[in-house]
Amino acid sequence: MIKRNFCVALLASCALLAALPVLAHHSFQAEFDGSKPVTLKGTLSKIDWINPHIYFYLDVKDDAGKVTNWTLESIPTGFMHRAGLTRDDFVLGDTVTVLAYRAKDGTKAFGWVQEFTFPNGRKVAFGATRPAPETDQSSSK
């Protein structure tokens, strides 16, 4: 079962990566590592609603109580509008969960948002495919 789940996860990752290059103004592979997913739960502390990428900033607290401010790159504002989302849908201070992929250049606490979950459970996926839960092999720590 573990092997099957891993296969599903890999295929999902491949589909995800195949979908991503056309979504950014550089390719996903040039900046982010699809093999390094991280799930973050934290407080939305700031948003730069700019182009060509929106940036979300998330305060994530680890088990020791240390807070790390993550910078999370996202899609252009026009893509949000096409999907019916505006800046007002993202409320500072909300506790949200984000599935992200870490930066390839080693920059700490910097990644690409692949899936954003609002406090009420509403999900936004930034690609035609959603990663299988099995790809979420990392923690925020």
Binding site: A18, P21, H26, F110, V124, A128
Partner: protein, 291 residues
């Protein structure tokens, strides 16, 4: 060796190959088809079959909000998940692009430079660094207001890059005046228009060198001269451009035409474009869009 570990290594390698294939599928392609689904052509055809409204002076009325066929807001939601990208489950899929079927005819001695610029697009493309796409790369306007002697074009580039903060505007006189001579090179250049039958023909000069003709390293010189043709048929608007630059091209290049459809809507002010990625890029892979 742990069999599971070996299996994983092969699986990861296979995934890598698939991903590389996706990246290598870079191309110039017809924008509406790739960005907005295989059904776009049928939607355009149906819109073109409608009557063509005309102004009191008999010209086709270009006034309106124009866009490529897009998934509706409701189509972006599947099984309770909002898919905030042009590619939605069950819809069009990326990674289906082939080589550019219509590249500009560069002088042989400049082909290597074009290839080098394409490879280096994330560093060399002015639009990557938030400069306007310019004419003709910007394509058809998102909104038009037409009067008897002046046509106003408004632009909005959803991808963000190459978009202008606020609202990008072009004013095109159609009163037979000549080009201005007291202007600097501009991203949208100096435009004068006239009607040829049902087509608005716009002559554009005074274009800055600081734009590309397309994403694949298609640079040009300050000698760039563009003749655009805007034709409304029914509820569609077709954009054609003939690009002449004797400094870099062997002959005028006719861009692949683009057709947009009349929609309900209005351009909105765009937030600033701030390039922040270049410092994080670890290779030259870049996007595959056609503009």
């Amino acid at each position: 060796m742990n069999p599971g570990f070996c299996w994983r290594r092969w699986a990861i390698a296979g995934c890598g190959v698939l991903c590389l294939l996706a990246v290598s599928a870079r191309a110039q392609v017809e924008r509406a088809t790739v960005s907005h689904g295989a059904g776009a052509a049928a939607e355009i055809k149906a819109a073109a079959a409608k009557p063509t409204p005309r102004t009191s002076d008999g010209h086709p009325d270009l006034t309106g909000y124009w866009d490529f066929p897009q998934p509706s807001v409701s189509e972006h939601t599947k099984d309770g998940v909002i898919y905030a990208s042009p590619f939605i489950p069950g819809g069009n899929a990326p990674g289906q692009m082939q080589g550019d079927p219509n590249p500009p005819p560069y002088k042989p001695e400049l082909v290597a430079k074009v290839k080098e610029l394409e490879k280096n697009q994330t560093h060399a493309d002015p639009a990557f660094h938030c400069k306007p796409l310019g004419v003709p790369r910007v394509g058809p306007p998102r909104q038009v207001i037409q009067t008897a002697k002046l046509v106003a074009f408004f632009y909005q580039v959803d991808i963000g890059e190459g978009d202008q903060s606020g609202i990008g505007v072009r004013l095109i006189p159609t009163d037979n005046r000549p080009h201005r001579k007291d202007v600097d090179p501009m991203y949208f250049g100096d435009s004068v228009g006239h009607w040829e039958g049902d087509t608005l023909v716009v002559d554009v000069n005074h274009l800055t060198e600081d734009t590309w003709l397309g994403i694949s390293g298609y640079f040009h010189s300050s000698a760039l001269h563009v003749i655009e043709r805007y034709t409304r048929k029914g509820d569609t608007l077709t954009y054609e451009a003939t690009v002449d630059d004797p400094m870099v091209l062997t002959k005028p290049w006719i861009m692949t035409q683009q057709t947009v459809r009349l929609e309900e809507g209005m351009v909105v002010e765009q937030p600033p474009c701030e390039e922040r990625d270049e410092q994080h890029l670890v290779n030259d892979d870049h996007h595959t869009r056609d503009y």
